[in-house]
Symmetry: C2
Subunit: 443 residues, 2 copies
Amino acid sequence: MSLLPSILAKREGRALDETQIRAFVTGVTDGSLPDYQISAFLMTIFFRGMDRGETVMLTRAVAESGAVLDWSDLDRPTADKHSTGGVGDKLSLVVAPLAAVLGVAVPMLSGRGLGFTGGTLDKLEAIPGLRTRLDHAAFRRQVSALGCAFVGQSEDLAPADRRLYALRDVTGTIESTPLIVSSILGKKLAAGPRSLVIDLKVGRGAFMPDLAAAKALGRALRETAAAFDRPCSVIFSAMDAPLGRAVGNGPEVAEALAVLAGRGPAGVRDLSVELAAEMLRLAGASSDREAARAAAAAALDDGRALARFGEVVDAQGGRLGEPAAGWGLPAPAHRRAVTAAAAGHLPAPDAGRVGWLAVELGAGRRMAEDGVDPTAGIVFRRDWGERVAAGEELAVVEGCDAARVERAAEGLARILAPRPEPEPAPPLVLARLDEHGFRLGPV
Amino acid sequence: MSLLPSILAKREGRALDETQIRAFVTGVTDGSLPDYQISAFLMTIFFRGMDRGETVMLTRAVAESGAVLDWSDLDRPTADKHSTGGVGDKLSLVVAPLAAVLGVAVPMLSGRGLGFTGGTLDKLEAIPGLRTRLDHAAFRRQVSALGCAFVGQSEDLAPADRRLYALRDVTGTIESTPLIVSSILGKKLAAGPRSLVIDLKVGRGAFMPDLAAAKALGRALRETAAAFDRPCSVIFSAMDAPLGRAVGNGPEVAEALAVLAGRGPAGVRDLSVELAAEMLRLAGASSDREAARAAAAAALDDGRALARFGEVVDAQGGRLGEPAAGWGLPAPAHRRAVTAAAAGHLPAPDAGRVGWLAVELGAGRRMAEDGVDPTAGIVFRRDWGERVAAGEELAVVEGCDAARVERAAEGLARILAPRPEPEPAPPLVLARLDEHGFRLGPV
């Protein structure tokens, strides 16, 4: 069946029906549609959009393009957290075990990084021995036993999304609300959690640069999830500067471990508590947001979340060491300090620039085939806006390649050049969208 | 070099520069760009358009993607005629030899039909023995000797257009002004005539349904041609009903021969005279439009145009017979008359419907790989709007396949059902665009 009539209909601004959308996704999945028609169709959707009904149909077709997991036999409610991607975003590593110890099962499917956005799988694989390829049976056993597992998306879940995303990535069709919604929710519906908290990143280090556009995407995500009877909250969080003080796979695991141990940067801790509390609330494990936040904070402070993370790592073959020995994470071969050329205030660095610096350093991928250096990364020593003295250490750049470490340190020194005045730091949670509507601020 | 930055720039509405457009066309020609990026880019151009400068750059790049013919050593001026495609459009067969006997060389490159639009090569190949594959040297010799040759576009002329057109055809990106302009003029610039008359078909049997859209395309064609110092006139002609009384390859050759012999339907003759006269005027072979029309009419009436057509057919290996013996064209195995079910006025049939009926009959192609039946076609017996009696023969359907002839005759009977009142016939020439601007009517 040719896609041409559907391309022409959408091109002229007409809504597509279920038959047309199903035929499209089937042709994507079974390979019968050629790439060139799919990409022309994706660009048409970019320009013409899709209404709510079309978006729901596309999401359903993507979800049902492969296996669909069912967790209804678990003794606990299920929830998941999804981030639209940022720099220094290690929240999944904290949030999943944190929600798990508080009675919510988190069947989390994670991805790898591409471009300046990191991926949870890459971070976890900095832990020696840790495996992220679990078959469905092992995944189910571990979620049942520990409430949490970190696995890569298997080939048979939402296979249509894999081909569509690969084409979108190279044809300039990433930034389309219906395509983003059907990609995110199609995968989540296949993975099967009953409720979903979305961490929608906003700012120069996110693919949504401003809150207005992010709000429209958030509404589309929530409304589409509602059509599948999945409660969904969106937390709009700032991604102008990197999240926390560590960027890079190994360094981010270390920072996540510090937060799980009740320490670590306030921003990472606060946002982890916020996301875990919302998961508890949506899943019905806590009816009160304040109580949920308090429970999450307590589980970080009393060591339960860290212990659960350790059990999950053990179950997946990973080996963690003592905190004093850098948790047993591989040590970088090269380190280079970045110091302040003059006294002043540390600027909040552009997350996008820092992210690309980390990619150049070897922490991320330019192309899907690239490998990553688990030791490569940047650790900031001070918070944005703080007053620093000339010569003071502002950050450390690490990695296995001396020349790359040197180059990245030079680039970072330019980014971190102290300024005469402190810049005001924006709040980390910009807004939220839940069953009470959209509200600005972290309320 | 990736096309992605150009896709993104155009997607955001920015104009592309010469380097980006050259790189695109080079990547299309040498095969280094993948189909899926080209088709996403074409759809982006469909939605965002191109300004005049971009259109000129794209046209130049397409023209220069292969060999460029140069006719400056001929002792006569060169001109060409291009039709945007219609049903029953056999004008090239008349106009090329007609202009040639009046002192203008016509190095005409023709195409094959696809969909309901016929192709000059298919029509000519209904003549037994006629070859349309001439190499550049033979093409040059024949144009020099006879002022006219009918050849298919060789592989090495504007090769970028071949790949682009094939992709546009299957991705819903045909109807884009800059893509149409660069395709038509890119090929014409490569073929080398110094001036160009465009027969821009308007109506339900053309890809331009209304005059407003056609006018915009006509202006873009004329302005782009001007940037290459090529005089270009556009004649906007009606394509609501088929042109003339014959549709189908063999039947259209017979009708063209009748017009070349000074007979045939008035519409085909008048439009042939109009187009040939404009070619003479643009090429400088006649400074006065009225004189040019008179010269063209005379060359049809005194047999010179027919004689020249015969010489061209001879030179290309074709064999024509006596008019009384159907010019030696292959006879259809099956014929079926369509008669009037009741008295009334013959309606002007929808050219699109008649065109698809002819395709079903075997006269045209649904896909580029399909073959055609040279004998398949429809010959109308009366003019649109004429009063007919019940049982009177309105048309004959012909072809090699009895079942198809039968089906087409049934479809045609529905289309030709007489009406109580005559419909007013629109003028054949709707408007023209030349150095004096745009004017309605055939002036």
